[in-house]
Every structure is written in C-alpha cells, then in structure tokens.
Symmetry: C2
Subunit: 377 residues, 2 copies
C-alpha cells in the first residue's frame, strides 16, 4: 500500500504556512486550492484540463454523489477517482452543508439528518456513521466529519447547540473511521458560528480527539469578510502546528490571501468555475466581466503574463462573443482561466512564504488587484 | 503568399474517391468531414480538442457570424481563424440555408434576401455580393455561393424557380469573388430539389461557369435517405473529376458511407456534436444512447478499439451519469467521441479506397453497425 496520510510544515512566515501533505494518491503542496467536482466532474472540464491548471487535489460532494449515482455504485466501479478519471487525491465533504442548503423537509436529530432529495423527492438519511461509510465507498483520501452548519447570522443558542452536536458527531465519525483502511485521513470541523468563545471550545475539544487535519466550517455562509477573517485569525492558532488547516467553502482571491496570512493551508470553492460559467474572469488585475461591451473589439488576451495558455491565447473579443452567445466554450475557457489563476495565486503565496517575503507578496498582489484592468487599447 | 487552392484526385475505387485539397492554411485529405463551428466555436470544444479528433478543416456559419459578432469585427480581429484560434483551413457557408430555416419575415427577391435576425429582430440583407464580401471578411479558405435552399417536398415550379435563381446568384457570386485574394476558393452549389432533370441542368450550368469545387445543396432537408442518395448518385457523375464535391449538411455515418460510395469528397453536419449534447454516441457498433439505464453500472468504455482516448478512457457508467445529471462534461466528452468516430470513419474510407477495397470496407462497416452494441457485461 502507498504511504499513509502525513503533513509536513515546511516553512512559516508570520502566521502564513508553506507545507505539503502526502496521501495514498499523491502529494499536495500547501497552501492548496481544491477545485470542486460536485457531481464527479469539475463542471465542463476534463481531468486533464483540471490538472493542467496546476490543481493537485479535487473535492467531491458527498450529498450530490449519494443521491446520484450513489456511493455503492461508485465503489463497485472502482471508487470516485477511477469513476471520474482523476489521477490524484480526492477530498470529500460529509454532505452536511448541502443537506442544509439544498434539501427540503429535513429533520435533524441526535442520530443524524433525514431529508428529501432535491432531485426526486426520495427520503434519505445521513448519520455520522453513514457519512463516513459513504466517503469510504467513494475512496476519499481525506474524509470530513459530519457537522451541522448554520447560516449566519444565527442565535447564540443555535450556534452553541449546533457546535455541541457537531462535536458529538465528530466523536462518532472518528469511531466509525477506525475501520477505514489505506492510510486515509479524517478531518474534524470547528464550528461555533461567529462566537469566538464557541469556536475556541470547539477547537479545543476536536484537538483533544486528535484528527489528522482540522477544518474551519460554517463560514462564508452570509457573514461579512471581516467576521470570517476574525474567526479564522482567532481559531487557527488554537489548532496544532503539525496538522493541515482547511477553511471550507472559501472564497475570493482576496479571501484566500487573507486566510493564508492567518494560517490556513487548504481551500475549496465553486467561485472560479461558477463565475467562469457566467462570464467572469479572475485575473492578477482583479475580476473582469467579459459580458461587458468594452471587450467586444479588444484583441488582447485576458492576461498576457499568465502561465496558462487559455489566458494568453484567446482574445477578450472572442471571450466576450462566447459569453454573449452563451456558448459552452466560454464557460469552459473561463473556468479554466479562473482555476489557473487560483492555482497561480496559491503557488505564488507558497513561494513567497518559502522565501520569507509573504508580506511583500500580499501587498503587491492587493496593489495589482486595486490597480484594476488594463486601460482600453 | 501560400499555395493557392488545388485539388488532387489520388485514387478512385468504383465511384468512391480518395484525394486531397490544398488551401492557403493547410492540406485536407478527402473524403473529409468538417465539424461545424456555428458561432465561431465547435460547441464546447477547444480547437486543440477538435484537431485531436483528426479534423483538418472546420465550417463556419455566415448567417450566425454576420449577426454576431459581425464580419467587419471579425476581420478587424484578424479573421475567423485567428478569432477562434483554429490553425487550419475554414470553409464558410453562404448564410442562405440558415436565412431560410432560422430567420423570420424574410423577403426573397432577385436582388437577394432581406430578413429579420432571430437574435434581436434587426433587419439584415444578404445578396450574392454581400455573401461573398462577408466570407472574404471572415477569411474563408473556401467560400460558398449564395443559393436558395428549399425544404422538401416542394412543388416542381418552386424547385425550378429556386434552382434558376441559384444559378443567377452563382454568376453574381463568381463575379464578386474575382476581387477576393489569397488563393482562396469559391464553390458553386447544385440545386433542383429531388428532380433529377433540374439537378442535371443546374450541374451543367455551374460546370460551365468553372468553379473550384461543387456542392450538392438542398438535401438532408426532410427527404428520405433513398431520395438523397439517388440525387447524389445521378448528380456526382455530372461534376468534373478534378474538382472536389461537397454534400452539404450530411449526415449520419451511414449517409457518409453511401455518399462516398457515390463519389462525394466532403461533408459537414451538426449531428456528431448536437447528438453528443443529448447523450448519443456514434460508435463502430452503431449509435448508443448513454441516457439508457442499462449503462448505469457498466464499467466498460464506449469503444475499447477507438483511436481516441475519450472513447477508451471513460466508463459507460460515468458517461451515463454525466448525461443523467445534465453535466456539461457529458456534452464535451460525447461531442469529442462522436467527432473522433466520424474522423475515424472518413480515414477508414480513405485508406480503403487507396487500397482498392472500398466495397469490402463498406460491407464490413455496415455489418458491424448492424451487429449492434456489445452484449451486457
């Protein structure tokens, strides 16, 4: 069998961290951004295209995959990696977040959550034990505990209740995970809403349980960026230095930069692909809306300095045309460009931390975003 | 400047022909299938992906491009090849067919056709002279004359009138084309509906005008395959041996096989990409509907013998999942698989003709289609 999960912290620069983790299916440099492969596909992109953006790991959504095509089916077909033809490691979420946001008629109890599928109305049950079982069937290199994720703002009582339930589910997940073989990892998830004391308590209890990594969940759910960063800033130091830290569902390039500055190692988010499908490009000069008429005659590429050919090859005029004509290739190219920019940003942060110049990189990156897009030709 | 347009007939086998034509932007082996890049994109596919299927030339639609983004704009951006980043030759149609099928409120006169855009309701005019001008602005390696294309069945009077109008437009196109530079080619289009005498008259008049290639238009517009093949069989021998023959808008793999058997060299059709977007794969064992539940647990690839990795790599179960989940990647992969199968079929025909065994290839290909898909695992 291949090497078991391990994390190495290579260098710190302030609170920012450069590291790497090893999984049974490959090594991942951190800080790392994980493209989201919701339904066993990063929308519109072949695995070769995803890999060519620089991604070393992708995320799969337990909620979507348990409903369709079903985890037992994926297991019989060799697991999610083989199913979607992704050669590298995969992290799966536990399904909890999407149960809360997508399904209807859910009933949450100590045991777990019963919900109605948004696809066909069928009833399903997700418990901590089943969440671990599903993720094992999918063959996840990194599994996540089942947690309860609230939208913010939420009442203090709700935040406490959800945090405490998530801790009890963390224990049950850990117990269920003991039978999962093959050097795979299980991460606990810090909850507690925007209450720093609850966050501290959640982190303390989870660390006592000793997970292979720790996520900060329940953020990017409606709160201001300032609130999110405050929680990250206070929570990250409560997590062990020698374990990876994963900020779930985050975020914009600026979110990533600021969260790395506060000690986060891993991210996932649908923004680069979702916004790409809607004509928006992330670039070193900030976001660019390709639907805007000012691009209609612009022969320049999106970003002549990009390391990725998609950003250097196609004219803004062409991307504008594809966007206005609602052509699938527009979604494909802009998703590619955006994932490539996210990976370029992560690699840039990693190199800066390794060189002890993260603060300068951060300032220069923000300055370039603020400078904005190229002036008209 | 690069070499001007030329066609070489390399080998005949019965009526079937193996040849090649040279354009300012590359050489194309015939029989050739041209993927359709309607709005300056073969839907969902990067030019690299299209080229990797084996395609050597793509088709652009004058009607769509004149409405959006506009031929003057494309010309200012370096032409259609540069706009869509396609390195090889491009053939453009004249716009006539789509004016008839897509626009409303059209008024056809001797001068040309005035029509209302299906996009924004704006009025546009297309004359033989403007059709040539637009195709020159797009930078087409091969331009098509403007013609009037009827749906079948049509009355004898309508077929005659449209055929005769198309001949007068052919003359005007030829005159207008005299100022188009760069070794580009103009093809005339044989019309006449399903009336063989009208077809013969149309072919005779066009050949007298001496075009660089001849298309058979106004087929695959509602008539039975038998009717189409009869028109092809009677019309092809009336065209010069030393000019390429292009059957417009055709067709299924069986159509291509039978049309090549009757002396056709070039084809274009949206079927491989359109059907790919709807879960249908063309394979050496006939068409396969990936939406069918029988594929849900099938770990086998679509076609283990395909020359293209997309047909060999992904399981039927995965393609079924993408189709059921309406995932963009399903459309991308099946469009790729289908274009690759079409190109494999064309290359197979070309090799068989060159070896003097086209009849055997045709029989074996049909037998394999009729044998049908693999039995269940």
């Amino acid at each position: 069998m291949s090497a078991p999960f391990s994390f190495t912290l290579i260098k710190t620069d302030g609170a920012a961290r450069r590291g790497e983790f090893t999984t049974p299916h490959g090594t991942v440099q951190t800080p790392a951004f994980m493209p989201v492969g919701t339904q066993a596909t990063v929308k519109g992109l072949t695995p070769e295209t995803v890999a060519a953006t620089g991604a070393e790991i992708v995320l799969g959504n337990t909620y979507h995959l348990m409903l369709r095509p079903g985890p037992e089916r994926i297991a019989a077909l060799g697991g999610l990696r083989q199913f979607m033809n992704w050669p590298g490691p995969i992290l799966t979420d536990s399904g909890g977040f999407q149960v809360m946001s997508l399904s209807s008629l859910r009933k949450l109890t100590e045991q777990g959550v019963v919900f109605r599928s948004h696809l066909d109305g069928a009833m399903h049950e997700l418990s901590p034990e089943r969440a671990i079982e599903i993720q094992a069937l999918l063959g996840a290199d990194i599994s996540m505990q089942l947690d309860e994720c609230l939208r913010l703002p939420a009442s203090a009582a709700d935040m406490r209740r959800a945090m405490e339930l998530s801790l009890r589910w963390a224990e049950r997940c850990k117990r269920a995970f003991e039978s999962v073989r093959g050097g795979r990892a299980l991460f606990g998830i810090v909850q507690g809403g925007d209450d720093l004391a609850l966050r501290a308590a959640s982190a303390r209890e989870l660390v006592a349980m000793d997970f292979q990594g720790y996520a900060i969940g329940g953020l990017a759910v409606g709160e201001p960026q300032e609130t999110m960063l405050k929680v990250v800033e206070e929570t990250a130091p409560a997590l062990p230095q020698n374990r990876p830290r994963y900020l779930m569902g985050v975020g914009t390039p600026h979110d990533l930069l600021e969260a790395v500055a506060r000690g986060i190692d891993m991210f996932d988010c649908v923004l680069p692909t979702r916004n790409g499908r809607h004509g928006m490009a992330f670039t070193r000069r900030g976001p660019i809306n390709l639907g805007n008429a000012r691009h209609a005659d612009d022969a320049r590429p999106l970003d002549a300095e990009s390391a990725h050919p998609a950003a250097r090859t196609y004219s803004r005029a062409y991307l504008h045309h594809l966007t206005k004509a609602n052509e699938m290739l527009g979604a494909v190219l802009l998703s590619t460009v955006n994932l490539a920019y996210y990976q370029e940003l992560m690699a840039g942060m990693g190199a800066a931390i390794a060189a002890g110049r993260f603060a300068a990189f951060r300032a220069a990156t923000i300055a370039q975003w603020e400078q904005g897009d190229l002036p008209p030709p």
